[in-house]
Symmetry: C2
Subunit: 199 residues, 2 copies
């Protein structure tokens, strides 16, 4: 087998090993290099052939998680096009995502308020993507001013992420209730933004 390909595969197995360790009891700052290496089936020192640090691996994981979320958004946009309502479709898509990729979302959630400045910044960048896209969408569909559209988008993204956090630990029925409540809260904001005078 080609050397390059093998290296890529090992790298992937390190990344996968790390994700699998990030359950609801572990965070990036609490997994050790040796533990990741063990899970990936390599010697501790071999780790360094792929990443300078555990931190470099961490940033890679945040990037991958952000990418997965952005792909989710594209998917949601497709579903919106085929009817169902923006809020409904977006919330449902999002809730599906956190159920199917709980460790991925958990990583973003955890590191958003975590102990590493670099990780926090990386997660914030990903969230900013959401804010920008939702702001643009809002301006295009409602004609709200940039300022109001941005405030609305930011508030909505915060509520969605916050509900997602609750959803991680919730049962299926609880998630349904949660999604219903979230949709109403988002409508509050949408309706309120239309009628609130700014400045």
């Amino acid at each position: 087998m080609s050397r390059q390909l093998q290296k890529l595969r090992t790298r992937r197995s390190i990344i996968d090993a790390a994700f699998s360790l990030l359950d609801d009891q572990r965070s990036l700052s609490s997994i050790s290099l040796r533990e990741v290496a063990r899970e990936a089936g390599i010697a501790p020192t071999s780790f360094y052939r792929h990443f300078k640090d555990i931190d470099e691996l961490g940033l890679t994981l945040v990037d991958e998680a952000g990418l997965a979320l952005r792909q989710l958004m594209r998917q949601a946009r497709l579903r919106i096009a085929s009817g169902g309502g923006v809020i409904n479709t977006s919330v449902d898509t999002f809730m599906e995502f956190i159920s199917d990729n709980s460790n991925v979302f958990r990583l973003l959630l955890r590191e958003h308020t975590g102990t590493s400045l670099a990780f926090r910044a990386a997660v914030l960048r990903e969230i900013q993507h959401f804010n920008v896209e939702l702001t643009d969408y809002t301006m295009a569909t409602t004609g709200l001013s940039p300022k109001v559209a941005n405030l609305q988008a930011e508030a909505m993204v915060k509520l969605v992420f916050s509900a997602g956090a609750e959803g991680l630990d919730a049962s299926v029925e609880q998630k349904k209730i949660l999604a219903g409540r979230l949709k109403l809260q988002l409508r509050f904001i949408a309706n309120g933004a239309l009628r609130t005078t700014v400045d």
Copy 2:
């Protein structure tokens, strides 16, 4: 000096030591018993005379942090009584709090999404206090239905905490901007809740 008193003092110095270690780079799960003991000026094993675990200390810290926040709310209520608007006064009081007690708020924020189920539950209880009190207040002052009042309160608390998180890393000017934006977003919700039909 009395033995009892001395024990209480040592206990306090352990708690204070722990809080002082919880800066923006450390969380409960990353501070060690030995480190806390070192900071408190006692031998590592003496720690056990006061707490069974590092976890027991952690729960104590969360309780103290929650208490501090509840005291803050009382203070805010007093200020509201003397005029200025509910949202304005509450946000300003809250922002002052996170500036003056950043490590206390950071603890709640961190453990809210942290790796310990017990800590997450403890923080959630504290947040629930906020939701309940704000729900009651909203029903009393606006006459909204319990359901809508609760949805509104929950959304508001989430936005406030989320803005608080951003405020921790922000400069004074940034905090002002943040507070202004938060106030507008809370008005969106307040206005929206009044006008959104539920069910």
